[in-house]
Amino acid sequence: MGETPEVKKAKRPLPKSRVMLNALVDSIYQAAWDAEAKGEPVGWSTSIFPQELCATFDIPVLYPENNAAGVAARHDSPRFIATSEGELGYSNDICSYARLSIGMAHQMACDPNYEPPAVQRMPRPTFLLCATNSCFELLKWYECLSRELDIPIFMQDCLFNYGDAKPAKHWVAYGRSQIEHNIKRMEEFFGKKFDWDKFLEIQKISVENARLFDECVMMNDRNPSPLNGFDLFNYMAPMVVARGRRETTEVLLQLKREIQEHIDNGTTTFGSAPQKFRVDWEGIACWPNLGYNLKSMKKYGVNCVTNGYVGAWSLHYTPGSLDEMAEQYMLSSTNVVNTATMMGKRADVANHFQCDGMFCHINRSCKFMTYHMTCGREIVEEKCGIPVVFFDGDQADPTIFNEAQFETRLQSLVDVMETNKEAKQ
């Protein structure tokens, strides 16, 4: 995801995995620009759409959610949000990624003096890929993009699993039907045949990468944690934009080696401050305030050793099985399953990671994830016996977050965790 200014200011040089990651992301943006220059198709996609399809067609795809996070982290979101709320008349209640990206699309399409973000500039797309697993708002957002840019949507409707069981047969059949139908529509739209052998290859790589990523996430269960938890937000980028690429495997293997080194040497990217408390951060990062959040948490010796959001790309299926693949896209996002399932899992993870508390970002932009926290709080308190504390913020709109509230809430979380520790001793 976006490099935060804090990361840029780091005294130590970037670890090799980050250098590789940045090069990979750059190459993906470059491929999109190259296609645009040749008048070839370029897609914009929601972050958990079956990327295996366009990867097989070798059509470049960029990810507005990922891009919005980067733009917001570089404090460049307000001007795009202003276009959406002002000129276009969108309510400030809708998702800030949507406001940012619709504003950007409009400027791209209508403003001859359009000034793109400093890095990770996206070319204008010729088609959209929309999966509904993360939320329903994505679909409404992509409807707006489709209107703004006058381009078609390829949809993968990944049904919200309201029940406790795995998706039923007819769910999987609908998912599979959509993959097959989308392939057909894409063959027509791109004027290319779908290469099923290559598809199988890409599926294999994707599954391998998902496995590797999960391994890296799990390695952080050591005490002290080898990674500062926010690092994981950065390593989500290849999982979003290049899940089916060999280069991603290389990045993850390198990351794994670096984590192992930290474990072996007893070092951590959290820095020299002691890790007094291990916390599960729930929700998307407050991208515009990431630096402040990190600084405040370090001040109190709080490390976010795990969070549910980074697990959203953990898609495991048998390569070659369309049914399993369809099913996985209905299971992976935090927002495609009900609260009992999601927060039950989070409680298990918090226990496994020996978390002392849970710190929840009540994200104005992400209503359903917020429901997970309000409705799941009791589940976590019961299963883990740890304090759950909320703070208000937003993933890309800096007008919602408040430093004073954040620090007060963090401090009260620390107080409770301290009391609990004392009681245990």
């Binding site: 969108y90 609908y174 139908h181 927002n335 429901y371 309000t374 409705c375």
Partner: protein, 374 residues
């Protein structure tokens, strides 16, 4: 034949006292199934021998719901949760909940946590409506709803019973559309609030009773001389336009409501159940016929604005009022495009806030009045 006034009063009484009706049904030994907005397969409930009733929240400032439901989410669903948690819905046998937006994803969890005693029959509509697999998916999904309803009622829903119920619902739709047309010839008798009460009451009535009462009202109106309304005319869109105060403002400013696309009102009755090989298929195909609705994805991305412009022109309205349910994001995403399409069609539009958690609607009055004055 009863006169228009007393008939309208009956509708108002029902619209304002659904709880009284629930009590009557339950005392008569019937089971009530509460149906969340917007589209629920109500013919299944009727075919199972039970009574479907719409639930639309209500004016209240939620105290308990806040435990599960964030303050920045849909005002209507927050009141529904509050009512569930405070026992207002205690007499219903179950609720039917279609997942048509993110707030419903949340409500699914919030209801389980907050109202564990009232069973929730949840199902999901496919949004990829053009996919060849969507129809079969929806039929299977509705079968699960049928099974749950059979379980609660102890009755089997045969295809024949379902087809009969479907015909009844299509008659209800026709009766509602006929009433709306006729009401526009009698705007002196059918004020905005009266019109609303008829539309809302019908969501609480058994379908056969609804057809009977609405047809009687329409006939009574037809017996009256046609009224040439000289004032301004508007069409309403949104989820609901409540409370009465707001509709009273229209009347107070000399503005008539001559059509609506409200989820609580005409959106319910606009689309018929098409004929099909089976009742279940007919129920599923209904969803694929829904047009111009914020909860149903449409490849034609100006469909809603175009539909509203056509509705307004046909009814002789020069303005569409967007009744924005507080924190209803699906409506908010549509808002700019709807306004643009209306502008292109040479129509005026303005938005008013609908918020069930406050009784302050002074700003709506200012806007309606400003429209009426100019």
């Amino acid at each position: 034949m009863a006169d228009v006034k007393s008939l309208l009063a009956q509708f108002e009484e029902i619209s304002k006292n659904p709880q009284k009706l629930v009590k009557e049904y339950v005392e008569a030994g019937e089971k009530v199934i509460a149906c969340f907005p917007i589209y629920t397969p109500q013919p299944l409930v009727t075919a199972a021998g039970m009574v479907p009733m719409g639930i639309w929240g209500g004016q209240c400032n939620p105290q308990l719901a806040g435990k599960y439901s964030p303050i920045f989410t849909c005002s209507l669903l927050r009141s529904c949760l509050e009512f569930g948690m405070t026992g207002v819905y205690k007499d219903v046998s179950a609720v039917v909940m279609p997942i048509i937006c993110d707030t419903f994803r949340g409500m699914n969890s919030a209801w389980r946590a907050g109202v564990p005693d009232i069973r929730s029959i949840t199902f999901i509509y496919p949004q990829n409506r053009k996919d060849p697999g969507a129809r079969d998916f929806l039929i299977e999904e509705l079968k699960a709803v049928r099974e749950a309803l059979e379980d609660i009622s102890g009755n089997t829903v045969t295809n024949e019973k379902l087809q009969t119920a479907i015909r009844l619902y299509n008659r209800k739709n026709a009766a509602m559309r006929a009433f709306c047309r006729t009401a526009n010839d009698h705007l002196d008798l059918v004020k905005p609030a009266d019109r609303h009460h008829v539309m809302k009451a019908v969501t609480f009535l058994k379908p056969e009773r609804a057809v009977e009462m609405v047809s009687e009202l329409t006939a009574a109106l037809n017996a009256e001389p046609v009224h040439r309304f000289a004032g301004k005319k508007v069409v309403l869109t949104g989820i609901t336009c409540e409370p009465d105060d707001i509709l009273g403002y229209f009347d107070q400013c000399g503005v008539a409501v001559v059509g609506d696309d409200l989820a609580q009102e005409s959106r319910q009755y606009r689309t018929d159940y098409p004929s099909a090989n089976s009742g279940m298929e007919s129920l599923a195909l209904h969803w694929f016929g829904v047009k111009g609705c914020s909860s149903a994805h449409d490849d034609n991305n100006t469909a809603r604005g175009d539909m509203l412009a056509a509705m307004a022109k046909e009814a002789g309205a020069d303005c569409v009022v967007l009744c924005m349910m507080r924190f209803c994001e699906i409506e908010e995403y549509d808002q700019p495009s709807v306004i643009t399409q209306l502008e292109k069609a040479g129509l005026m539009s303005f938005s008013i806030d609908i918020d069930q958690s406050t009784s302050d609607s002074g700003q709506a009055l200012t806007k309606i009045q400003a429209y009426a004055e100019n």
